[in-house]
Symmetry: C2
């Protein structure tokens, strides 16, 4: 039987491999977002708020259109959550100095604190998975994840931070 699957019909294993990956993405993402979602519910916030807080924290002074490009949602959708976060004092907007049409976004202290709480869980989850898998596996994980992504621009943005400075 082993021969039938692994030699006589290599396509079978390949199909199983690919479906396994589909499921890994589904389950990992589901579990990865479950706990922050529960925390956010206590503020009457949702996953969309988390994404905004995360990326504004990650890229301080970014403009609204930069954020739209990362999130790939409409400005109307963003506006709803961003407006709430600004009104409730998690995010501050200030006009750009070179181009005063732009409204640059940054986390307030309150925003930084919430971001920290939300991502703490996710960082620990990743840290555990990385630790248990080893450096070589982490490298493979990164390679495959970069390969799954569509946009070269996104790849560059994500890769930049961990490059060794020359």
């Amino acid at each position: 039987m082993a021969d039938v699957k692994s030699q006589a019909n290599p396509l079978f294993l390949r199909e199983e491999e690919l479906r396994q990956a589909i499921e890994l993405l589904y389950y990992a993402y589901r579990d990865f977002t479950a706990e922050p979602d529960a925390m956010l519910a206590r503020y009457n916030f949702g996953r969309a708020h988390h994404r905004v807080i995360y990326f504004v924290g990650r890229h301080p002074q970014m403009s609204v259109s930069d954020l739209l490009a990362i999130l790939r949602i409409t400005k109307q959708s963003l506006s709803r959550v961003l407006g709430q976060l600004v009104r409730q004092g998690f995010i501050r907007q200030s006009p750009g100095s070179r181009d005063r049409r732009r409204r640059l976004l940054e986390l307030t202290e309150k925003g930084v604190e919430l971001e920290r709480q939300l991502s703490e869980n996710q960082r620990q989850r990743i840290a555990r998975a990385y630790r248990e898998s080893g450096a070589q596996a982490v490298d493979g994980f990164r390679k495959v994840m970069f390969g799954i992504m569509s946009s070269e621009e996104d790849r560059k943005r994500v890769a930049r931070r961990t490059e060794v400075p020359r």
Copy 2:
């Protein structure tokens, strides 16, 4: 500068590493689901329909409660999409023989065809990423993804298929 980051302050790189992983999960998942979402829209279906079709295709004759356990949503939420799929002839229900309360789910031919179309895109995306990364990277990817998941039960279900039969 390289020394400052990689030796004098190893925690900095570690933090960057973890945040990179958070972003990889976000971007990879976003891009992974974008194309099936667009296809589903043509049927007036959403991502929830895809998940149901996928898992019923993957586990033929599964019961509604099995599906609920995988999806981790309420039966009311499931009922809406499952009902549509059954009424529109993508999924067939039949009473279990041992326990006639259970309604066992399977794809119809039409359902199989839709499933194939939807996952084709995802399988190709994974295949490309796997091919470009190499077998060792794939192994690492799997290790880390399993580590990110919360449930041992889910891990077992996903791992089972690619085990070498003894």
